[in-house]
């Protein structure tokens, strides 16, 4: 363990410089996202364009998409960070624990069942994600204070598979639904407009503050359930609060863009590699890095197969999977 990357990486960079670098990466990602798109004749020089097609492209298509990518990255990486800490499992992420799929199931039920017709879709997504999380954690024994990590992952896989099966079932009921449902199984942000951005911000920003408020509890959780309890932070409460916040962040994200995997898994590990194990620092840093990753993925998705766009979820997986593999193989201290 003496070569653990986490240990050496932590604190190597002066904190101010590191945060500055992360901000610079975020900002350049935002510019990249703004600069690219179907109309290659529209670029950053049109940011101050007067009325006209260029201005419309920038303000009605690319800007909302840029903000959506930022907020999605923030939401998903925080969700993953919280889940990893609350379950003390480096594999935990909204996708692996079934929260993504639960959110998609909530959305499908909201569309299919007339009973839920009055409920806003993002609320259905939150309820679905939270329900999936609670079932997974109950299966793993998390609420008795003795969580089993193998049962956690197996439970998450089972809950996720069941939820997806139900989504697909809803999908076969009505052809009309199929089109809106399929997007919740892919991860796509091509046609996002301002209302979706507002929804993301409305849930994501309070979620960020809630995550900050939970961060010291997450630190204590890293010492194990017994020590956390001994220091005054009941692990079951931490788990419940964490699930609630993660479900809200995941739910609204899935309702807007579908399940984008890997952001929630990869970004927290990258943040820990660079900044150590203190969640009071990891929360803001993961939010920053998650946003940056999504912005670059958005830019790449528009350039990669131009003029056709690749779904951003696919691009994130293309970046995230090799990175995760690299970290698994070479940086053994994953958790």
């Amino acid at each position: 363990m003496s070569h653990s990357v986490t240990a050496h990486g932590a604190g190597k960079l002066p904190r101010g410089l590191a945060v500055g670098l992360a901000l610079a990466v975020l900002f350049s990602g935002a510019l990249f996202s703004l600069a690219t798109g179907g109309r290659s004749d529209v670029g950053l020089t049109d940011l101050w364009a007067p009325e006209g097609i260029a201005a419309t492209v920038i303000y009605d298509t690319r800007a909302p998409r840029m903000f959506a990518a930022t907020l999605l990255g923030l939401n998903l990486s925080l969700s993953g960070l919280i889940l990893q800490a609350a379950t003390r499992n480096p594999l935990a992420s909204p996708a692996i624990l079934g929260l993504n799929q639960g959110a998609a199931l909530g959305l499908s039920l909201g569309l299919v069942l007339p009973l839920f017709s009055g409920v806003p879709l993002q609320v259905m997504a939150l309820v679905g994600a939270f329900g999936a999380g609670v079932v997974t954690f109950a299966i793993s024994g998390g609420f008795t204070g003795r969580m089993d990590s193998l049962r956690l992952v197996l439970g998450g896989v089972a809950v996720g598979a069941f939820s997806y099966a139900m989504v697909r079932f809803a999908f076969t009921l009505e052809d009309e639904l199929a089109r809106s449902v399929v997007r919740w199984t892919v991860g796509d942000i091509t046609d996002i407009r301002w209302p979706a951005v507002r929804r993301l911000a409305l849930w994501g920003l309070p979620g960020l503050f809630a995550a900050l408020a939970l961060s010291q509890r997450l630190n204590l959780m890293a010492l194990g359930q017994a020590s956390a309890q001994g220091l005054g932070a009941d692990s079951r409460i931490t788990l419940l609060l964490g699930t609630l916040i993660a479900a809200a962040l995941t739910g609204v994200s899935v309702s807007v863009a579908g399940p984008i995997a890997f952001v929630g898994l990869v970004v927290p590990h990258l943040a820990k590699l660079l900044f150590g194990g203190d969640h009071r620092i990891l929360v803001p840093v993961s939010a920053l890095l998650g946003a940056a990753l999504m912005l670059y993925a958005d830019g790449v998705s528009k350039v990669l197969t131009a003029p056709v766009e690749a779904p951003v979820g696919v691009v994130v997986a293309l970046i995230g999977a090799p990175w995760f593999l690299w970290q698994t193989v070479f940086a053994r201290d994953l958790s």
Partner: protein
Amino acid sequence: MSIELTDIRAGYGGFMLDQVTATIKAGELTALIGPNGCGKSTLLKTIARQLPLSAGTVRISGRDTAREPTKAIARQVAVLPQHPVVPPGISVGQLVGYGRAPHQNLFGVRSRTDQEKIEAALEAVAIADLRDRMVSELSGGQRQRAFLAMCVAQDTPYVLLDEPTSFLDIKYQYEVLELTETLHAAGKTIVAVLHDIGHAARFATNLVVMKDGRLYATGTPNQILTPELVEQVYGLRTRVYADPVTGSKMVSPVPNMQPSLGHETARTMCVGLD
């Protein structure tokens, strides 16, 4: 000011503590001893409210722990679990700082007092020079001292230690036990689960002996530690003698445990050894 246990029933699924009633007086260094599975760790976890009670009450300084918030208990009782989890990417200084969590707000902002207590704890356990090292890089003995420092920083009147010497070599075992003694001398009430009867007799001022989920005996090591007690509780025939260094009681098993050898034979062998 004491820990009072009244008619406690508790434990995981099958195993239960059965009608345990005991008082652990303030100011004592109490060792919980007994064979594997006798319930000593379960009792410690029950006192720390890490296991729910099925019946009975635990009162710490007169207060029923079932009615206290977790954080309030954490200001009274510090716990060193049997297998503390080593947090990734955390330095010794940060770890010891977590000991202040029960005294802090939601965000764990350190006050001046917190800073002083952390420094004092690092000094007390003699790991001030390790403060910037990662906990994951420490040796077993250093790691145990770091966790002990976290308990010291918690600044509680009671400290519970669950087998603090397990997996340590003899030097570190004594180091941890001597630190425990120092904490006791500084006025803390300590309850430690110990495997080694000799350690218990040497360091504890009070023994609580358990068998099959029940309290078997309590008293000072000199009063209660006899070959009869050890045989009844552990099913092991031993001789008890004075440690040549400290004069505290030591236990040495009688070599031949074959059932075919009767009492007389064993006794003869004992004499032969004298």
